[in-house]
Amino acid sequence: MDEYIVEVQDLVKRYANLTAVNGISFKVKKGEVFGLLGPNGAGKTTTLECLEGLRRSDGGTVRVGGIDPQTDVRKLRKLLGVQLQNSSMPDSIRPSEAMELICAWHRIPPRRDLLNMFGLDPQSRKQYREMSTGQKRRLHLALALACDPAVVILDEPTAGLDVQGRAQLHEAIRRLRHSGVTILMATHDMAEAETLCDRVAILVRGRIATIGTPAQITSAGLGETRIILRTQKNCLLPGRDIGGARFVRQEEDYGTWLCRDAAASVVALLQEVQRAGDTVEDLRVERPSLEERFLELVERDAS
């Protein structure tokens, strides 16, 4: 039987007349990486803040490791590590001091190993204000792990990072996942969610529009496969529907078709090329991405 470490049931959170979270429910298994996706204002951060004990919900129940974040904050802090979307440290604090401070309040020896693990020199005399955005994010992640939490919440962990910084942070998240830590993350980055998350929930206007593995979510969409093709003599351009493949656009010498039966459509397109005495220079068959499925859900909601 699966053991759930995070349980959210019919969670409701209102700000004056605005219902930011409107009765959402989901569960996260131990050791799972669970992603919350959604456009701005969808309720991701509010949901996470209810789990972090920073906001009081207006309805429903929330449990982290069986603890109610609204009533037992002290126990929660030993179980939960949090990297906030907007957080900071005093400008003049050094990474080692920040770690000493957090560990002192958790009554544990300073976790210099975590600073090493995230590529932050424990001997560094660099102050927080002199650190790069990537270093700051990694420091906050290291601080979130100081008490060896069973659950870690990451709110937009890679926002504002450059490519190298993102890669480093992704690697750190993968390491955490291998060590069995349960991760709950909110992100705007679909590629990030697709590569890191075991399951994702897409939130739209405070409700869960869909939930499942990235593969389940993408396949539950319109289910059309994209075929992109370029031939030497451009015999298929200007494009038209061929067999079950529906022509959608032309970009330079590339034609793009959408189809439900990818194998039959590829065969039909290649036969057409052969008939015209042309040769294929480039052929790509792509399944819809999580991003496309996300946009489909958001657009459907807007319409």
């Binding site: 972090e52 920073l54 906001r55 003049s92 000493e100 002192a104 309040w105």
Partner: protein, 246 residues
């Protein structure tokens, strides 16, 4: 207790590294003290008697009222308080540690002034050092409590600066640190009685230096402390409310 001590040590070190804090806690009060000691004492020799006391009031008000609120507001605005909170640091610890650290810095600068004033400028020495330090403790506690209240109440850093100036400038003019409060017109003298600095100057003069005062020196300590307790209570309430909001 261990966590509090560690936090205090780190905060104390951070204050020393922070240029703005260093200016308001040490540099400006000491430069002002040297200027007043060198120039003003020759213009008004009366100032000489209680130079250490008046400059301690200036340093404490400058450091506590101008120096402590802005970092507190900045911590709130930048998300430091939230980050501390989710990391298991209790909400009360941040202003408490901040206040204790400010207390230590301002105690150091006041002690420097007390020791050097007679040597550099021939200023009067207190007759009763215990009374001097008792008054100093009241002064520091109350001014830091007012600083914390401003830090907790101000919605932005600019508002904190404005509120701080509303306490600091009248203290410089009305509390009797530049010239005796008895020289002020009655309405201004009454206004001065709202300020901790006025009561601190009365207590310093009457208890530590054995000089004549406008009103009872022991009562001055009590009134000054009451203002501090009131400010500390209001600041605590405000911080508690802040701790409940995200």
């Amino acid at each position: 207790m261990k966590a509090l001590m560690k936090h205090l040590l780190i905060q104390f070190r951070m204050d020393i590294r922070e240029r703005g804090t260093l200016m308001t806690y040490y540099l400006i009060p000491l430069v002002f003290y040297l200027f007043i000691g060198a120039v003003f004492t020759s213009v008004n020799p009366l100032v000489k008697n209680t130079l250490a006391a008046s400059m301690a009031v200036f340093a404490a008000t400058m450091g506590a009222v101008l120096g402590t609120p802005v970092p507190v507001v900045k911590m709130r605005e930048s998300g430091v308080l939230r980050a501390y909170r989710v990391s298991g640091i209790p909400g009360w610890a941040v202003p408490f540690i901040h206040g204790i650290s400010a207390f230590l810095h301002l105690l150091i600068v006041s002690s420097i002034i007390l020791i050097t004033a007679p040597v550099f400028f021939g200023a009067g020495r207190p007759q009763d050092y215990t009374a001097f330090f008792l008054t100093l403790v009241m002064l520091l506690f109350s001014t830091i409590a007012i600083g914390m209240l401003i830090g907790a109440a101000a919605r932005s850093q600019s508002m904190a600066v404005m509120l701080s100036q509303m306490v600091f400038l009248p203290t410089v003019v009305l509390s009797g640190i530049m010239f005796p409060a008895s020289m002020l017109p009655e309405p201004l003298r009454m206004l001065g009685r709202l300020l901790v600095g006025t009561y601190a100057m009365e207590a310093f003069s009457g208890l530590a230096y054995g000089l004549a005062t406008d009103f009872s020196a022991p009562w001055s300590i009590l009134v000054g402390a009451c203002i501090g307790i009131l400010a500390a209570g209001l600041a605590m309430l405000r911080f508690r409310r802040m701790g409940k909001s995200p």
